[in-house]
């Protein structure tokens, strides 16, 4: 498992310190698909960098720790995030946002496969055999083997993303981090890739961490969810429970702002905008946009409390969240 404890991740910029992730703690369990959700700028991608142990200037882990617990040579070992890069790809791998630019544009896919693998036993296979293994693996994932001889730009966006998934899972890492893996892809393709991910996870029995802003995606495939807002975790719960009875008004508003097919109820967006991470407000960061907020909310940082077993929420009014009906509008901030 991966333990995230009191983590602060800050960017140093020209304008000052951007507190992208503030005091975040949670656990990632073995064998689950954990979803992390939130709006753009909520710190979810930064947190992913932290969890992957890829923290470089101007980003810095200013507080807290991230540890990975793995089994190696029959022993359980705890590895701090500063050492993660030694285990990259072997124990922990990463699927970036679907984008044209993450593969080397001037090198064929196959050579990029070759470049990645470090583990001695895989290396020892030799090029010929390795090639066979890769081809086999692609066939397993129902991908055409020809892609190996292509350049990235020759593949469609969906195909590229599936190749990256294959790349990231080829050596069966225990942890796979996927950062918005299907954003900007068409829904049909998105469904294909997500299905592929789920199947892989079932097959490998490893841990997937999925970052997405799309609540629908989370609903479809994640087991447990972490909701982030303005650099902080506001709610953690098993996915089904979260959708059924959210205990943070942000989660609730988020779910309710989404129109559903076949459902004609009037929906409203959340008014206003998230606070600046350069100088976040003193109290609850969502207070300015919250229909439940009172003066206390604006002054006191709500702690993340376990509101029911396995369900955590950081809201002083968490008990009222489902009780008080949502008001229309919020159009003006």
């Amino acid at each position: 498992m991966i333990r995230v404890r009191n983590v602060c991740l800050h960017y140093q910029t020209v304008q000052g310190t951007v507190k992208a992730v503030e005091n975040v703690s949670f656990d990632i369990f073995d064998g689950e698909i954990l979803g992390i959700a939130g709006e753009s700028g909520c710190g979810k991608s930064t947190l992913m960098k932290g969890i992957y142990g890829n923290v470089e200037a101007p980003l810095a882990l200013t507080q807290g720790s991230i540890e990975m617990e793995i089994e190696q040579a029959g022993e359980r070992q705890v590895i701090p995030s500063t050492q993660f890069h030694r285990y990259w790809w072997e124990h922990i791998s990463y699927i970036p946002q679907a984008s044209m630019s993450v593969l080397n544009p001037v090198v064929r896919i196959q050579d990029q496969f070759f470049d990645s693998y470090l583990r001695a036993d895989v290396r020892a296979l030799g090029k010929q055999q390795l090639q066979g293994r890769i081809a086999e693996y692609l066939r397993e994932l129902e991908l055409p083997v020809e892609v190996l001889h292509s350049y990235p730009h020759q593949l469609s966006g969906g195909m590229r993303q599936r190749v990256i998934v294959a790349l990231a899972t080829f050596v069966h890492p225990r942890f796979v981090l996927a950062d918005e893996p299907t954003t900007a892809l068409d829904v049909v393709v998105q469904r294909g890739i997500l299905t592929m991910l789920v199947n892989l996870q079932r097959q490998l029995q490893n841990t997937f961490i999925l970052v997405s802003h799309d609540m629908g995606v989370h609903y479809q495939i994640t087991d447990r969810m972490v909701i982030m807002y303005a650099g902080q975790v506001v709610e953690i719960a098993p996915t089904a429970i979260l959708f059924e009875r959210p205990r943070h008004p942000y989660t609730q508003l988020l779910i309710n702002s989404l129109p559903r097919l076949g459902d004609d109820t009037q929906r409203f967006g959340i008014g206003g905008r998230p606070p600046s991470l350069l100088a976040p407000p003193a109290g609850c960061r969502f207070a300015a946009r919250c229909h439940l907020a009172d003066d206390q909310c604006r002054q006191v940082q709500p702690p993340l409390v376990e509101v029911e077993p396995g369900h955590f929420a950081a809201c002083l009014k968490h008990e009222w969240v489902t009780e008080i009906p949502l008001v229309g509008g919020g159009e003006s901030a």
Partner: protein, 332 residues
Amino acid sequence: MAVVRFLAVRLMVYVLVVWIGVTIIFFVPRFVPGNPVEVMMGKLLSQGTTMDPVLVESMRKTLTELFGLEGTLWEQYSSFLSRVILTQDFGPSLSYYPTPVSMLVARALPWSLGLLLTALLTSWLLGNLIGLLAGYYNKKNLSKLIETGAMIVYPIPYYILALLLVILFAYIWPIFPFVFQVSGTPGSWPWIQSVAYNSFLPLVSIVAVSLGWWIISMKAMVIDTKEEDFVQYARSRGVSDHKIMLGYVARTAILPQITVLALSIGGVFGGALITEILFGYPGVGSLIYKAILGSDYNLMLGTISISIVAVATATLVLDLIYPFIDPRIRYK
């Protein structure tokens, strides 16, 4: 079919560029005052020899005829064009009459190519290597030092650098020759040694300046490329550092440098005019200069056209081969 169409259009542009360029070189000298007959007359008469006006007149007439400068400009132009197109012959040099232009060019070209290609390739390879290292390890002090050095040398005009080098290494600290004087039989070892020894300062003056440029541009490109997603992703895939540097960063960053290299090779045929003049180097640059001083129309056309054709050809070839250099272009 599309390929054929593309080629046809591209070739047409090529021919147009060359033709217009050559036409400019044909007409500009003829429209500014000065003409080769008078240069020749001046040369023959300036020594104070008897200026028998009758002789002057008859000589002028003969020379005008010999130099093919009779008739209207249009007639001269069309006969020039047909001669060049049909026989690729630029005719005799006027100031070295009747020596053919082709012979003069053939003698000067190896020198310019030798000097400039060497300078270009050396500085390109060295500059890109240094630029790559300096850009890849751009946080290191040495890297900053190199960049500062390159920034100081690069903007200095190469002829100023040439002057300084001559002052420093041929005069104050005379380890290099002041005089371009090749000895030994061409092709022999002492000759090669002497060529190299004599070419060293001109070479350095060109290399130093262009080296600065390659370092600066490569470094900038490497720093940009280093931030690209695919490099970052390669890093997070655990790809080894030198592999990222060579296979990912260098491989991509070098592409625009290849473009500029190709264009520079085109420029090589024009010679490094002022360097050659300052060092008395027997290349095309010196020849162009002499042609201009002597109002030698044919020699100007012969020498400058090479340069025009070379630059145009370089761009053409570049357009044609670029898809093979950069796989992204091919299937777009």
